[in-house]
């Protein structure tokens, strides 16, 4: 075959030629802004005045003097945890159940995937209605019908519930997407392995922990990294639903950064926060790889 013989000779240059444009694009669209943020984080700049070099002042302010920053950081972690449980946990459960289903798989897959294709703004408005108390929304109405009147509350105005209330839609939204990925991975688990284990008397749980999960671990790592980085960068739904409020109860690092940049026009300090977000994402990915790889080796 002609092509097979030609490829090895040309492959290096041709691969490079084909890789270069996306690499340049990636550099311009991702790396350059990150470096630019890093640079800006050492300045005080409101957009219209002259830029003033302030050294590490912005970082000192962030770590030592800014109470909202730490509040937003903790909120972001809680938001991440809720999203991960809903997205990965929910996805795994639904995908596992799907594999044992004989009929209607396509329908259920589509239903679960549906929220991922609805616009974020629509989802945000939908959930504002669902959580509302005056006029009564769906959630409070349900509690009322179930006789759980004590649970009725304005979910988005109560400082104790608002963070969970804005995290849930984001988690709910992408459960279907991760479910699809995990479901595909589960389908690829060799049937003969499972059958052999069943013959040896393995319970469903053993089957899952000893055969299925180890088999889908690479896919699991990828989905965990995807879900974590998306969770850490979560912005739109909390911003649209509560704008970080009441107070700073649902303020995430991302919404805080956005406000610092575009409401306070403090571009230097906003860049400092964005540098922190980049580092935070890198650390999170490193941690996931480290933990899951170590488990796999053990």
């Amino acid at each position: 075959m002609q092509s097979n013989r030609m490829l090895p000779n040309r492959s290096r240059t041709s691969v490079l030629v084909f890789l270069l444009p996306p690499l340049l694009l990636y550099g311009a669209a991702v790396l350059f802004p990150i470096l630019q943020s890093l640079f800006l984080s050492f300045f005080s700049w409101n957009g219209i005045s002259d830029m003033e070099f302030v050294g590490v002042d912005n970082y000192v302010r962030m770590f030592v003097a800014d109470d909202i920053f730490w509040r937003a950081f903790l909120n972001a972690l809680v938001y991440l945890a809720i999203c991960l449980v809903l997205q990965l946990g929910g996805a795994l459960v639904v995908a596992s159940l799907l594999t044992s289903l004989r009929r209607g798989r396509e329908l259920i897959k589509t239903l679960y995937l549906l929220p991922a294709v609805i616009s974020t703004v629509a989802i945000a408005f939908l959930f504002v209605r669902i959580y509302s108390l005056e006029p009564v929304g769906l959630l409070n109405q349900l509690f009322h019908w179930m006789g759980l009147g004590s649970l009725e509350r304005p979910w988005l105005s109560d400082v104790n519930t608002v963070l969970a209330a804005v995290s849930a839609p984001e988690g709910w939204r992408f459960t279907g997407l991760y479910m699809l990925i995990i479901y595909a991975a589960l389908l690829a688990v060799p049937k003969e392995l499972e059958e052999a284990a069943v013959l040896d008397g393995a319970s469903r749980w053993t089957l899952f922990t000893k055969i299925r999960f180890p088999y889908i671990r690479p896919v699991w790592i990828t989905t965990t990294i995807m879900a974590t980085t998306y969770g850490l960068r979560g912005f739109d739904i909390p911003y649209l639903m509560t704008n970080g409020g009441p107070g700073q109860s649902s303020e995430l690092l991302t919404t805080y950064m956005y406000k610092t940049a575009f409401t306070s026009t403090d571009f230097g300090y906003a860049s400092t926060i964005s540098v922190f977000i980049v580092v935070e994402c890198l650390v999170a990915v490193g941690l996931i790889l480290f933990l899951l790889k170590r488990k796999a080796d053990a």
């Binding site: 219209i48 959580y131 105005s157 639903m241 704008n243 575009f262 409401t263 403090d266």
Partner: protein
């Protein structure tokens, strides 16, 4: 390096920059009558007004009329009605030095910085040169002025803010129209015990609640309080500050606002009032078409009335002095100001008031009479009449006064205060600290 960043920032807003002509030549902001030939071209107005509202419709029509005599002229209107998004757009374009010929802004600290840098044409001189300065209502111009009295924005509206109320609901609860601001908490308690939501408020947009914090200091210490407060010269720990914080906390305790108000939007609040669920609603004359015409639900139409901002015992401002904004103003970019822009403004500003008054709205000028629409209720004329007897002072909305960082924090803390999540003492500490931290950067 700085230029590179400016260029990058400009790239980030390319979509807008395409429509915005950033002229490079710098001109003297006080030179309001540029000489030279009028060369017709396309100019842009970056604005934050309802897309199908009277201002835009009229200016479009006037621009079309102007283009008949000046082929090649076009007025490109780019509107972003959502105010926070608009402000972000404006600030980004300002940072990229790409502001269009005309742009909307309130008299904010940010706008004042632009004016100081000579980026805006002196509006007082401009209106004087067009010989229409004296037509404007003093209050309409004052609303646009910076603290030093300078004027850089031109008003296109004039609005009065009232507290609208439902007579039947007040009667049902056995309460009367409040004669003092201090009566309101007790009034709320009575309304609540009658099963009525006392006040419908749009908490999502935050400015409506921020209006309330401005009322007590305006009565207690006059319009100067917020001017001093924003610079750190007055504090929340001062008597006027404490009075308003305690009052806000009382409003919260008396459950004056609907439950979960912080997540409810503009139309949610208005619906609660117009459907007869809420007893009071604080809004301006821009809502006259929905509150004082036959568009209003017949079930409540005859029960709706309004009162103006109550005074307090020992009030230093009078009953005819309250919030009377002239809306977001239009600034003229000094760097792109040329004979064409000047000539178009002369043409448009002279014809605008008559057209605007014909839509049933209050003109920022006094040379025209508002045409009351055919479907209006008697309340419409009553509301318009209030414009004639105004005092010389007006309560400024605080969101146009404070620096943006302090303002953002204040809006957040205010919700917590009213919800009872923090005490007035905590609020005082947080906000006095925030002002001390942020104000110096903006009011150098």
């Amino acid at each position: 390096m700085k230029n590179m960043f400016r260029a990058a920032a400009a790239a980030a807003v390319t979509a807008l920059a395409l429509t915005a002509c950033g002229g490079a030549s710098s001109t003297d902001p006080s030179n309001v009558s540029p000489t030279g030939e009028i060369k017709a071209r396309e100019i842009s107005w970056l604005l934050s007004r309802p897309a199908d509202g009277a201002v835009i419709n009229i200016m479009k029509k006037l621009a079309d009329d102007y283009a008949k005599d000046h082929p090649g002229f076009e007025l490109n209107l780019i509107t972003t009605p959502d105010r926070p998004s608009y402000i972000q757009k404006l600030e980004t374009l300002a940072a990229a030095n790409k502001l269009p010929e005309l742009f909307d802004t309130d008299a904010t600290p940010f706008a004042q910085q632009l004016a100081k840098q000579g980026k805006m044409v002196d509006a007082e001189k401009l209106l004087e040169s067009l010989d229409i300065y004296d037509n404007y209502r003093p209050g309409a111009l004052d609303y646009q002025r910076f603290d030093d009295g300078s004027l850089y924005m031109i008003p296109f509206q004039f609005e009065l803010e009232f507290i609208w109320y439902n007579k039947a609901l007040l009667e049902k609860a056995g309460v009367a129209v409040p004669t003092s601001l201090d009566d309101i908490p007790a009034m709320c308690t009575a309304l609540r015990s009658a099963g009525i939501t006392p006040i419908a408020i749009d908490g999502q947009d935050q400015w409506p609640l921020e209006r309330y914090i401005a009322y007590q200091p305006f009565r207690e210490a006059g319009p100067e309080f917020v001017q001093k407060l924003k610079k750190g010269e007055a504090k929340f720990s001062d008597p006027a500050g404490q009075k308003t914080l305690n009052w806000m906390a009382e409003l919260g305790k008396a459950k004056c606002f609907q439950d979960g108000f912080s997540a409810q939007g503009y139309s949610d609040a208005q619906n609660q009032f117009t459907s007869g669920q809420a007893a009071m609603y604080n809004i301006g004359t821009w809502e006259l078409p929905s509150l004082a015409t036959d568009k209003l639900d017949p079930a409540v139409r005859n029960d709706i009335d309004f009162f103006t901002l109550p005074t307090t015992a020992g009030s230093v401002t009078a009953a005819n002095e309250f919030v009377s904004p002239s809306g977001i103003g239009m600034a003229v970019n000094a760097t792109t100001y040329d004979p064409l822009v000047s000539d178009f403004l002369k043409f448009a500003l002279e014809k605008y008031p008559a057209e605007y008054a014909a839509t049933g709205a209050l003109s920022p000028t006094t040379d025209v009479e508002t045409v009351v629409p055919a479907n209006a209720t008697p309340l419409y004329q009553k509301a318009l009449d209030q414009a004639d007897g105004l005092g010389s002072k007006q309560a400024m909305p605080w969101d146009t006064q404070l620096d943006p960082t302090t303002n953002g924090r204040l809006q957040q803390e205010l919700v917590l205060l009213v919800q009872g999540n923090i005490t007035p003492e905590q609020f005082t500490e947080t906000m006095d600290k925030a002002i001390a931290q942020n104000a110096p950067k903006f009011f150098k």
